[in-house]
């Protein structure tokens, strides 16, 4: 365990000493819960419509594919007109685009980022490597199938997919959300143990709480 994650005693400006336990104090330990649909279908549909029209992407470029997001953020492809925008922090985002392969080191950060995102939230796997390892199929440091570790709603094939393909993916994502089929976050909550077991199998340096939001 890293030094800064150990329990330590800190003296405050008022001279009072107190104990700080980083892993325990700063995070909620409660596991994620399934988010039920609204009682009335019309209301749920309305919610889903609203969600689908405000896809806020977490600006975390986890791999190569991130480079094709820049053109989307700029005037030529202009994804904003489709209700898609990028946010710098997980708290403000509802779509996590895993842009390609994930090394185990990034997987750890990606999981934390995903868990910090607010419900409802979605994941898109971008490129071949998220589907079956892609060209890093024999690498010792990258995961091969993303859906073992995070609930993926949609995949876009390509190495890397072009901005147009990404846009098509966002459009499909909208359709899924509107149809109420983008249930990845609930899947994650339902199968939390399974996901955690998978994650811990490959992340050897597990110096973080199991879940935090």
């Amino acid at each position: 365990m890293k030094d800064e994650l150990k329990i330590r005693v800190v003296k405050g400006p008022d001279g009072v000493e107190f104990e700080v336990e980083p892993l325990k104090d700063y995070y909620c330990e409660a596991a994620p819960t399934v988010m039920p649909a609204a009682y009335i279908k019309v209301v749920e549909d309305l919610f889903n419509w609203a969600r689908s029209e405000s896809i806020w992407i977490l600006g975390f470029g986890t791999g190569c594919g991130a480079i094709e997001m820049r053109p989307l953020m700029t005037p030529r492809f202009d994804a904003y007109r489709f209700g898609v925008q990028w946010r710098p922090t997980p708290r403000q985002a509802n779509l996590f685009v895993i842009s390609g392969y994930l090394s185990t080191k990034t997987l750890k950060r990606a999981i934390r980022s995903y868990e910090q995102m607010q419900n409802p939230k979605y994941v898109i796997g971008l490129g071949s490597c998220t589907i079956n390892g892609g060209m890093y199929w024999d690498s010792y440091n990258t995961i091969k199938r993303l859906d073992d570790y995070l609930p993926v709603d949609l995949y876009i094939a390509g190495c890397m997919p072009r901005p147009e393909a990404l846009l098509a993916g966002f459009q499909d994502m909208k359709k899924l959300i509107r149809a109420g089929k983008a249930e990845g976050a609930n899947l994650y909550a339902e199968n939390f143990e399974w996901y955690k077991a998978n994650q811990k199998r490959v992340i050897h340096d597990w110096d973080m709480p199991d879940y935090n939001w």
């Binding site: 330590r8 986890t62 791999g63 991130a66 820049r70 005037p75």
Partner: protein
């Protein structure tokens, strides 16, 4: 404002104290210091990497570069791929400017296998490398401005870069990973009407650069934040292995294209762009002017290149291509500095060892860690961008 606050000591340079062995004495528990992680999920970071900052107030007292988030083990993977199978994988080592990987790898294989790529292929290779350089710099300019809040620059440069990607697409068949320069030559010649469309694109790049000059370089805010900040002592250039615009901005005329001309660069007319002040502003300006050089080089190449002739040398059957034992190093001047491939072969059908020397390796780790000390937190992103680092070439 700190004068009136007795809580802080005005002379911040006494922090951190040094231990007897010379290492910094940073006791987090003392409450004087704070750990601040910039990245990997952070808008002010150059790609998927992170810097672990120890700050005292808003001043960085220690910075540690953390890389490996993009580590795929290329050098290991290549050891179990045949020489031709390595060709598609190398470009993935650097996303914004992948072609140097293709070129250096191909040239290394050719040298050890005793193959000479045809002249026409060399011209096309140089064309691609210069196009990639323009792209890389355009991205950099957007990033450098963005790191200081000048979002509009990125909007413009990304558009210009995208036009260049269109040229890449029609020439190579792909936007980002071109996989066009293969051991032995290149895949194909220029498509019909390429020159004309290229000229239009170059004009757009030039006009964008003019706007960038007006809005970014002649901008009081930008100057205020960059002039005199992030100074690299020219004396550090060799001891820290600094190359490319980072060295040239410090007045050291390091440019592989001139020092050890490769491909057809000896037949082109250009001078390395130099700067004197070695700060963030100068580095940005050197790169801006370097784009103009590249634009000119692309024009020269298109005017001078042969239009007929073979594009591929005769290579052995690629399925069982064996290369005798040997080792070599091939370098090229990429937008960030010296890019090189060290290739060792052992007579089998697979490379014995490939080592990729990316310029960011020294820039983003040892150099950044040295320069980041005593910097204001708000300048960290700007400094990092000004070193123009791409993490995948560090960890590969």
């Amino acid at each position: 404002m700190t004068q009136n606050a007795p809580f802080f000591t005005p002379d911040r340079s006494q922090y951190p104290a040094k231990k007897a062995d010379g290492t910094l004495d940073i006791d987090i528990a003392s409450g004087k210091y704070l750990k601040l992680w910039q990245g990997p999920n952070h808008p002010g970071i150059t790609g998927n990497m992170s810097v672990e900052l120890t700050v005292c107030g808003d001043e960085v007292v220690e910075g540690k570069t953390h890389v490996g988030y993009l580590h795929r083990g290329f050098e290991k993977l290549m050891e179990r791929r045949t020489f031709i199978q390595c060709f598609p994988i190398v470009c993935r080592i650097c996303v914004p400017e992948p072609d140097f990987n293709e070129y250096c790898y191909a040239a290394a294989v050719e040298e050890l296998a005793g193959i000479k790529s045809p002249e026409r292929a060399d011209w096309i290779r140089a064309l691609i490398l210069e196009m990639g350089r323009i792209n890389s710099y355009m991205m950099y300019l957007g990033g450098q401005a963005g790191a200081l809040g000048l979002g509009v620059i990125g909007q413009w440069t990304t558009y210009a870069r995208d036009l260049m990607l269109d040229r890449f697409e029609e020439l190579t068949g792909a936007r980002i990973y071109h996989m066009f320069i293969m051991p032995g030559g290149v895949r194909d010649g220029l498509p019909e009407g390429f020159d004309k469309r290229m000229e239009e694109t170059l004009r757009e790049v030039e006009s964008t650069l003019k706007d960038v000059y007006d809005v970014m370089f002649c901008n009081a805010v930008f100057k205020k934040r960059t002039v005199g900040v992030g100074y690299i002592d020219p004396a550090l250039v060799d001891s820290y292995g600094i190359t490319g615009p980072n060295a040239r901005a410090a007045g050291v005329a390091k440019d592989v294209r001139k020092d050890q001309p490769y491909l057809i660069y000896s037949q082109l007319d250009f001078e390395p762009v130099l700067g004197q002040d070695s700060d963030i502003f100068t580095r940005a300006d050197v790169r801006r002017r370097d784009v103009l050089v590249s634009v000119d080089l692309v024009r020269q190449i298109l005017a001078k290149m042969p239009r007929t002739g073979p594009l591929m040398a005769t290579v052995p059957n690629v399925l069982h291509w064996k290369i005798p034992r040997g080792e070599t190093y091939i370098r090229g001047e990429c937008s960030r500095g010296e890019y090189g491939y060290y290739l060792v072969t052992d007579g089998s059908g697979y490379p014995r060892r490939v080592n990729v020397r990316g310029p960011s390796y020294t820039h983003a780790v040892s150099l950044l860690e040295r320069m980041i000390v005593n910097l204001n937190i708000s300048d960290v992103a700007s400094l990092m961008v000004s070193l123009h680092t791409y993490p995948p070439e560090i960890e590969r």
